[in-house]
Each structure stands twice: as C-alpha cells, then as structure tokens.
C-alpha cells in the first residue's frame, strides 16, 4: 500500500469503524492522522461508534476514543444542508441521510472527506473526497 500524504480532513463513519475493528491499514492511517492533529468526524459518526459497542466495556472505551477526537456538531445548519443535498440528488440516492450529514459537515467546515466510497460521495457538489487506504 502506498501511504496517502495526509492533509486535515473529516473521517467518514466507515473509516472510524474500520479502525475500531483493528484492521492494519486503518490503524496505520490513524497513526498518520495523529502526526498532524486529531481524528475529526461528525457527531453522527460519534453516535455510530457508540452504537457499535457490544457491551459496557466497549461503550466505555468508545467514550475514551471520542475524548481524544474532534467531533463536529450535528446542528441545525448541518441538518438543513444535509436535507438540501437529499433534495438535490436524483433518486435513487446513493447516499443515506447519515451520509449526507457527514457530507454537509465536511462542506460547512471546508474539509475534504476521507471515505472508502469516493465515487458514491462524488455526487455531492463541491465535496472533495480522498480514499484513505
């Protein structure tokens, strides 16, 4: 694998869950992220990480993980833009509401999105996507 030069960006939910699963590439990627800052993701991703916990220990460790990360709030501005994206995309939409919340967060903060599905997110106007690994 050729390492991607890291620039500050928003991490899509699947990238964060991949790290949680302990796969080598995402773990190496998160090491790179830490070289320049903190993992950054949407609050909807934070909620997915918490939802992913299978027991209380995993929930506690997920909370510690969130405490070392930078979480972008899911506020009214993000929700409004996410809905507008869904109104804009011709059906059937390749993006779920959660996906559009992540995309809207990246757009509002002018951050590229690190995603395992750049083609899927390519339908969002103005969104810069990067495949992390």
């Amino acid at each position: 694998m050729t390492p991607v030069p890291f620039i500050r960006g928003l991490l899509d939910t699947a990238v964060v869950i991949d790290y949680r699963e302990g796969w080598p590439d995402p773990i190496a990627f998160f090491g790179t992220v830490r070289n320049i800052g903190f993992p950054e993701f949407s609050q909807i991703t934070a909620m997915k990480v918490l939802e992913h916990a299978r027991d209380l220990w995993e929930l506690d460790s997920a909370k510690v993980y969130l405490s070392i990360s930078r979480v972008h709030p899911l506020n009214a501005r993000v929700a409004d833009l996410a809905q507008r994206l869904l109104e804009l995309i011709p059906p059937p939409s390749p993006l779920s509401p959660d996906d559009t919340i992540v995309a809207a967060t990246a757009l509002i903060h002018k951050l590229p999105l690190y995603t395992l599905h750049p083609a899927r997110f390519g339908i969002v106007p103005g969104l810069n996507t990067i495949q992390p690994y």
Binding site: S61, S67, I68, R70
Partner: protein
C-alpha cells in the same frame, strides 16, 4: 418565542439590560457574543504516541480488558502540561 437580549455578568450572575417578557420557569441559554455553534468539541484528552498505541491495542481487542481502567486513569493523571490548548486550535 424567539428573542435575543444583551446583558453583563455581575458577581457571577447575568444581569439583563431589560426584563424578559416570558413566563417564570422558562429555560434559556446563555452564551458569549462570539459563541460559534459550528465549533467542534474536543479533544478533552491528550495521549502520547505510546499511549495511543496502547489504547489502540485495548480498543481493537488485541490487548486484554483487565488493564484498561488503570491505563485510562494513568492517562488522565498525566494531562497537566500536555498543551491541549495549543494542539486543539
């Protein structure tokens, strides 16, 4: 009901420039004028590279759970002077 008023802090309490025409018990939110509702939250904990590596081993199940509480307490106790305010900007 949607309003915005200005006030000052006096002895730790907010004193408004005018009385509010709302029922007693109505909950309100106080924020600074430069409050940014888009501002990200965190991090609230800084780990060294070694601690992050250890955390990753716990978080991904490569290391047994029994030492995690002690690990977390150790990291929390080591926060003083880690420059959170500098890296978080």
């Amino acid at each position: 009901m949607n309003f915005q008023v200005r006030g000052v802090v006096k002895n730790g309490h907010v004193v408004l420039a005018q009385a509010l025409d709302v029922p007693d018990g109505t909950e309100i939110v106080v924020s600074t004028p430069d409050f940014d509702e888009d501002a990200p939250v965190g991090p609230s904990l800084i780990m060294t590279d070694e601690e992050f590596q250890e955390f990753t081993e716990y978080f991904t199940g490569k290391k047994g759970r029994e030492g995690f509480e002690e690990f977390h307490s150790r990291v929390q106790a080591a926060q003083v002077g880690r420059g959170l305010e500098r890296r978080a900007s």
